[in-house]
Symmetry: none
Subunit: 236 residues, 2 copies
């Protein structure tokens, strides 16, 4: 009996957990250690990118162990992670638009919506699993309101007012939320029972969530990083 379990080489889900864990930790080191390269006012944004991947890294370390031990989706840790990282992504949107005069009320609105999205998602995926359709639907509504807010609502107007590189970065982030985030409900539908099950079947939620997390956490962070590089005057 050992504390280090044997590993099945065909455990591909486990493989993505391990790759994910260290990708997140590596990305955190990258963002954190690059901070001194930027003008002060851009450091906070890159720092928050690093926080997002750092928080994810720790939860991926839990999740890979949980998966190895029980061969069961670590839904609990998944949502602990999202409860911290998704609101922080809303903070990122706010930080970028602050130069254009964004108010904290915009940030709190996005945070509130994302919390509703996550609580209802958790209830459907982990607690009331026989009502997954219902809770997933409510979660989806909150998600659409977020998409609306940033694509067409107040956030959009502020980005247009800021123009230039900020508008460009905002647009890229909007695509992340529309396309990258849309992978999550797909994972949810693979892992729960509902009208959609006859269409898309069932499959590994975790591979889907792990890929989505890599795109949305590391990719999103790199967009902020690139913006901060562009905006830093002293390039020496």
């Amino acid at each position: 009996l050992s504390v280090v379990p044997k590993i099945d080489p065909t455990d591909y889900v486990g493989f993505t957990f391990f790759v994910g864990a260290m990708a997140m930790m590596g990305a955190s080191a990258f963002f954190f250690l690059s901070l001194s390269q930027f003008d002060r006012k851009w450091r906070t944004s890159v720092l928050v990118s690093g926080l997002i991947t750092f928080i994810a890294a720790v939860h991926y370390f839990y999740m890979k162990d949980y998966w190895s031990a029980h061969m069961e989706s670590p839904t609990f840790f998944r949502y602990v992670d999202w409860f911290l990282t998704v609101p922080l992504m809303c903070v990122e949107f706010f930080l970028i638009l602050k130069v254009a005069g964004a108010k904290t009320s915009l940030m709190w609105r996005l945070i509130g919506l994302s919390v509703i999205m996550l609580i209802t998602g958790y209830l459907g995926e982990a607690v009331f699993t026989n009502q997954a359709e219902l809770w997933g639907g409510i979660s989806g509504v909150a998600y659409f309101v977020i998409v609306y807010d940033i694509w067409l609502g107040k956030a959009k107007k502020l980005a247009v007012a800021a123009g230039g590189d900020i508008l460009k970065a905002h647009k890229i982030l909007c695509w992340f939320v529309l396309v990258g985030w849309a992978i999550y409900p797909l994972g949810y539908m693979l892992g729960t029972e509902g009208w959609y099950t006859s269409i898309i079947g069932t499959g590994s939620v975790d591979i889907v969530y792990n890929i989505a997390d890599a795109i949305n956490k590391i990719g999103f962070g790199l967009v902020i990083y690139a913006l901060a590089i562009k905006k830093t005057d002293n390039k020496v």
Copy 2:
């Protein structure tokens, strides 16, 4: 038999321990890595904010494991944490008022009062649990003296003398102590037996304490952070 325990998705208390642990660790990374953005004389205050959340993070990692293993309040670790973090918060009050000429005697007075508050609270909550009213009452008196000192006593006078942003920050911190800290005795009354039990009933001490900690440690730190940002001249 495995070292990674299975987790019940409806263990909401456990959820708040996990969220709390990583929120504290994330906040610490944030405060520590932001230090270079401030004028030197403000760095100590932000550094102490980071210490408070970092100390809490480590104890939350203990507490989440203790909770998962025994489904019992980790009162021991809770107070180990408070014995370090609450005095550090008194140091923060002092650091902010130092520019206004605060003496170290003010700091030691606040530290002494907070230690009395915590020792008596621990005795009531963990040792002489059938005298919880008595010990909680003594603890409450020490708490009120702290509230008096900072709202109306010497600390207040110094803050008024300093004026401007320092007075503003002091006021916000005073509200934290009056409202945010008042959540703790509420948790205490939920978890112990006394005259109050017939009024407020019993409930999960830990959810209450965890929420209070998030507000008072991270929120308090962010107020200091915002003050340091405002006071830093060179914003490049």
